[in-house]
């Protein structure tokens, strides 16, 4: 008999206590405003700001130049972008003098030390936002790998305001997470932080010190 079989046999020998499946239908405070996107956006922005995230309201036409301007202000010399993404291609098409655009085109093992020491910022999209907690939903993939949002000291995120949902439960239900997930899914709710020394909050523990969200508003179209 293997360890597995012995453990399972002990569990199966224990008394059976029937417990009904928990009711998961209850709604959160935020879901009452699900229909009102302006309430969701405000709640999202407030919660993210409270966790020291920078939020910039922008629109689809203006965000590339806004990103380049912010990068310059923050003295970002090298900006890591994904490969084969529409938003990455739009930045590339601008041929900026600064910052230098880097593509995450090779496996991490091929350029680990450069990634850890030579990249000032990463730029990714987010798949959605969560109003209740001020969280970004990221599904890293081969175009925008996992470490883009973790290793560079600054993380820029492009988020479509229309994708903001009331809460995590709703995101899981509407996006059908229960049917199967990619290798990695992330919720990011601010810059990396720690309070492990005398409960004093410090930012940039191991991940990005700054999290900057470019929130693309549908109503804000350029004339």
């Amino acid at each position: 008999m293997s360890a597995r079989d012995r453990i399972l046999a002990r569990l199966r020998a224990a008394p059976v206590i029937a417990v009904a499946a928990p009711a998961m239908s209850e709604t959160s405070e935020c879901s009452e405003h699900a229909a009102d996107s302006s309430v969701l956006v405000k709640r999202f922005a407030d919660a993210m700001t409270a966790a020291r995230t920078e939020i910039h309201f922008t629109d689809d036409a203006a965000w590339p130049n806004l990103l380049l301007r912010l990068a310059k202000e923050k003295k970002v010399n090298s900006l890591l972008i994904g490969t084969g993404t529409a938003h990455g291609d739009r930045l590339t098409a601008l041929h900026p003098d600064s910052p230098r655009l880097l593509n995450y085109a090779r496996p991490v093992s091929a350029w680990k030390s450069e990634l850890f020491d030579g990249v000032d910022a990463g730029f990714t999209s987010a798949r959605g936002g969560i109003a209740e907690t001020g969280s970004l939903v990221l599904w890293p993939d081969e175009r925008e790998p996992r470490l883009m949002s973790l290793v560079p000291p600054i993380h820029f995120v492009l988020l479509d305001a229309a994708t903001i949902q009331p809460d995590l439960q709703t995101v899981m239900a509407t996006q059908g997470w229960g049917r199967g997930l990619p290798t990695n899914v992330l919720l990011i709710s601010g810059p990396s932080k720690t309070a492990d020394i005398q409960q004093t909050l410090a930012y940039g523990a191991h991940g990005p010190k700054e999290l900057i969200v470019l929130l693309v508003m549908p109503g804000l179209s350029q004339p």
Binding site: G134, T194, A205
Partner: protein
């Protein structure tokens, strides 16, 4: 207070360790300050008592339901994880777990293992098992890094270095890290830690982590953290090993959000943590990062014993938030190290007897005034005082039984049993009771001045010169004669 490198210290010395802790003013003020801070932060996260109660009921319902189906869910989890490409291992004891992990490490020729925070890895003594085999296991959570550098064990399950002041940490960094000048600036100390560990993430062969929730329906491991070191450990090295107790499994993904919000708000008073990291498989052929191999170790280590008993099973509902210790008047005064076990505080007192047996831990279940603060704040409503009373009874029980908890009856005392027998006899028969109380009030002068633990800081107990019965009789006869 310096601790031995072992993850467990003899229970018999619990009293002397507690006395030493209580007499240490800097330790006392570190814990008092931290407890007040954490209590206030938690309270601010639950402004609505009704919402809190509903959420706790939901958390309890999810955990109780998950446990009721534990063997089925573990099998489903194994099936789904395997289909996702994650290798599942089962370990009955800490030694089994370490052997499995060492085997993986040696197969990859690993020299450095970088660790995210994992209390189960502390429970099995992972660092020492690897060290003995010549493999460095380095903690990367800032608190754990500090504690490891000091050669200590964590004193709190969420905030491992809670017992240290920033001055002590500044001195530690200055002494142990080459070329680091003394500083007590927290931002600077964190920057130093970040710099030291950043190179290690890139260099490590294996990353080790715990698991907060394991989801059976999708085969997903959920990790909750603020620093990003957990993501580093599970993403950068070629191999990721996760270790968890068998009780952490839930059936559905939708069961995670209520437990997640209860965990972050109860633990550190945060509405949400910086990262929730959901891992459902190793790197796919076209992906550019993430581990090539993921292993999950499912550890029993006494959990099936707790599971076998309907009442003791509630112990396994725990989601390891640490709120019970943050609100415990005993923990606040003696700190985490005095317990001598991996898990301190109220949750430690009720889980440790299953992991280590009652023989080694029966002192811990007495370290409570049964005030009930722990169960009042527990996000999954574990009836901790009831469990403490049950374990006290088990420890005092007369005979060792094969089915019950290991070390049952190990605190059994013939004298105490005789005293309680006498008490029961006296209180069950009015004639004996009257006779005994009469004798006690007449011979009160014979009461010993030293009464064991009681007189160490209190005046001796002495029976009253006249019994209540006599006083009442006198009052009644006086009233009659006046009438």
């Amino acid at each position: 207070m310096k601790t031995s490198p072992l993850s467990y210290m003899p229970g018999a010395q619990f009293g002397s360790r507690s006395s030493a802790a209580v007499a240490d003013p800097s330790l006392r003020s570190a814990f008092r300050g931290a407890m007040d801070f954490l209590q206030a932060k938690r309270l601010a996260q639950f402004p609505d008592a009704l919402e809190l109660e509903n959420l706790r009921l939901k958390g309890e319902a999810i955990r109780r339901y998950s446990l009721s189906r534990l063997p089925d869910l573990l099998e489903e989890l194994e099936r789904k994880l395997t289909a996702n490409g994650i290798v599942v291992h089962w370990a009955e004891t800490p030694d089994d777990a370490n052997r499995i992990m060492l085997d993986i490490a040696q197969r990859h020729g690993a020299r450095l293992i970088i660790k995210g925070k994992s209390m189960v890895s502390e429970e099995v003594g992972f660092n020492h098992a690897m060290e003995a085999a010549g493999i460095e296991a380095l903690e990367s959570d800032m608190g754990e890094f500090i504690v490891q550098l000091a050669g200590e064990a964590p004193s709190h399950i969420i905030m491992p270095a809670i017992h240290k002041t920033r001055q002590q940490i500044g001195q530690l960094f200055h002494e142990k890290l080459p070329g680091v000048p003394y500083t007590e600036n927290v931002d600077e100390l964190i920057r130093i830690g970040r710099k030291v560990l950043r190179g290690k993430f890139a260099e490590a062969d294996i990353g080790l982590s715990g698991v907060n929730f394991a989801v059976a329906e999708t085969g997903t491991l959920c990790l909750v953290e603020n620093e990003g070191n957990g993501r580093m450990c599970t993403t950068v090295p070629r191999v990721h090993i996760a270790i968890t107790g068998i009780e952490k499994v839930v059936e559905k993904l939708e069961h995670v959000p209520p437990l997640y919000t209860l965990l972050t708000r109860s633990a550190t008073g945060q509405p949400v943590t910086t990262y929730l990291n959901l891992i459902s498989g190793p790197r796919k052929p076209n992906e550019k990062d993430g581990p090539d191999e993921i292993h999950l170790i499912l550890l029993d280590n006494g959990r099936t014993n707790a599971y076998a008993d309907e009442q003791l099973r509630t112990t396994l509902q725990c989601i390891r938030c640490g709120a019970c210790m943050n609100h415990c008047p005993v923990y606040a005064r003696i700190g985490g190290h005095a317990y001598g076990t991996t898990y301190p505080g109220p949750i430690g007192a009720i889980i440790s007897p299953h992991l280590l047996g009652l023989k080694a831990t029966h002192n811990l279940v007495t370290a409570s005034s049964l005030c009930g603060a722990c169960s009042e704040v527990c996000p999954v409503r574990i009836p901790i005082p009831d469990l403490l009373i049950r374990l006290r009874a088990e420890a005092q029980a007369g005979s060792e039984s094969a089915t019950a908890i290991q070390g049952r009856g190990s605190a059994h005392s013939t004298l105490m049993t005789a005293i309680w027998r006498g008490w029961a006899l006296m209180y069950g028969r009015p004639a004996i009771y009257r006779c005994a109380t009469w004798l006690m009030s007449r011979f009160r002068a014979l009461v010993p001045r030293s009464q064991g633990g009681w007189t160490s800081c209190r005046t001796p107990l002495k029976p009253a010169p006249r019994r209540l019965r006599d006083l009442l009789a006198q009052k009644n006869s006086g009233a009659k004669s006046r009438a």
